[in-house]
Amino acid sequence: MNPEFEHLYQALSKVDGFIYPNEIELSWSILIVLYPFITGLVAGAFILASLERVFNVKSLRPTYVIALLTSFAFLLVATMPLIFHLGQPLRAWEIMMTPHLTSAMAIFGFVYLWYLMIVLLLEIWFDYRYDLVLWARESTGVKKWLYKALALGSDDISPKSVKLDQKLGYIVTVIGIPSAFLLHGYVGFIFGSIKANPWWSTVMMPIIFLFSAMVSGIALVMLLFIIINKVRKQKIDMLCLDTIAKYLFYIIIIDFTMESLDQIHRFYEAEESFEIIQLLISGHLNFTLLVMQVGIGMFLPLTTLGILQFYKPAEKVRQLLYFITGVLVLIGIFFMRWNVVIGGQLFSKSFLGFTSFKLSLIGPEGFLMASIWLIVPFFILAFLLWLFPPWKKTEMEH
């Protein structure tokens, strides 16, 4: 059979009930699932860092720089799934050159740039400048020049200028908190503002995205904190780890409440789209929503962390439980993004039928491509940790 026809007949075999022709194939696939997932990790990790700096949670001090560098490493990659999803990736820059003010996506480019340039880079720079100068003095060869260039050639580490750096860094963090909220709230807004899709169109979307971002970001930093200490064969600061887990527990409660509220509201309102959404939840999203997102990603971690608030087993056991919880939370939040992005495209906007989705292994929208964009930030982070080792930083009082 002619490949063109084969494709058409294959696509039609996926349809169930009545569906409009342009809904048969999903236009947003796993790369668009990754976009809110990675952006969420950025915002969440940054908010954890700001807990220490602005809200003065001293026990989180050992994670401050790790959280900032994690946020930065993931932010550098956040737009890549979007760009690689485009049919014409080389035209991506046009969104910045000729932005349309009514396009939510075009404005995201500037929100992203603001966050990257004004918030993260500046905060990291102010925090590292003192050490950059010291490392430039101690190092040799290329590294010396690199540190010197990054310190903008300045050698000034007088107490007065360092104090000024601290002050400016603090201001940037304070600006950074609403910016992190804006960055991820905005991703939620992009979905929440699509009024034709009842699975997305809710004012709760930015808030839900924001809190789930915090959950995933905090879980990621907690995991990295355990891994980095294990790799460096250092004793894990248990007070710090317990505190991260405590905040993770609090934020999961808020996130769970918000998501439940959204669903309860949907159930109680029971608008005309309710029937198809009910079928979606009990059918196509049965496994990814009820098992992966709610069961494994939310209920298990919530129970484990809840118990650990009252009962504290030996350090080794706690570390293992925190590690497993962190992984489960990340899986759960990934499936939350999956259920939003894929789930919203599975049912017809006529509310009369479904299409289905099968993830391919290879190809531009395949599993391997998505894995690459999920792994790359870890390599960037490893490089950043090598270039700017937080454990060699001079301890500063924030």
Binding site: L8, F18, A151, D156, S161
Partner: protein
């Protein structure tokens, strides 16, 4: 102001200027002339050669076939919808021939069973079971099916 802050400000100014310079250089001249697009594109698109010539140009030579089609179920279809764009054929009718699609899959593109297609508007057949050994055109004349 300490030296490093002066340099930081300067870096910021350089980055913003570079962005504005790039924006200026990369935005096409006629952008925004009529709306949020390149004004020149209007003329460029209008100047493109027309590939589809329309039923009337077919009728000038193939009038019997067009009349037959217009009396049948396919009266609403354009000739070029099945036969492809006809501009080259009109220029050189002897050398440039149009396609005559006659495969079962081609007919099935519209007539195979599809729940998303209203049964009342388009006749639908299970093309796997309905005389699978023959071509559709053996029994159905596509110009008067």
């Amino acid at each position: 102001m300490p030296l490093h802050l002066k340099r930081l400000l300067l870096t910021g100014v350089v980055i913003v200027s570079l962005f504005l310079l790039l924006k200026h250089a990369l935005t096409p001249d006629s952008f925004g002339q009529y709306g949020h697009y390149r004004g020149n594109s209007m003329g460029e698109i209008a100047a493109l050669p027309i590939h589809f010539t329309g039923n009337k140009s077919c009728e000038s030579c193939h009038d019997t076939i067009v009349t037959m089609k217009n009396e049948g179920y396919h009266s609403d279809l354009a000739c070029e919808g099945c036969h492809g764009a006809g501009y080259l054929h009109i220029k050189n009718p002897k050398t440039e021939k149009l396609i005559k699609p006659n495969s079962r899959e081609f007919c099935g593109k519209c007539h195979s069973i599809n729940p998303a297609r209203p049964e009342k508007a388009i006749t639908q057949q299970n093309i796997k079971d309905h005389h699978p050994e023959d071509k559709c055109v053996k029994c159905h004349n596509p110009h008067q099916p």
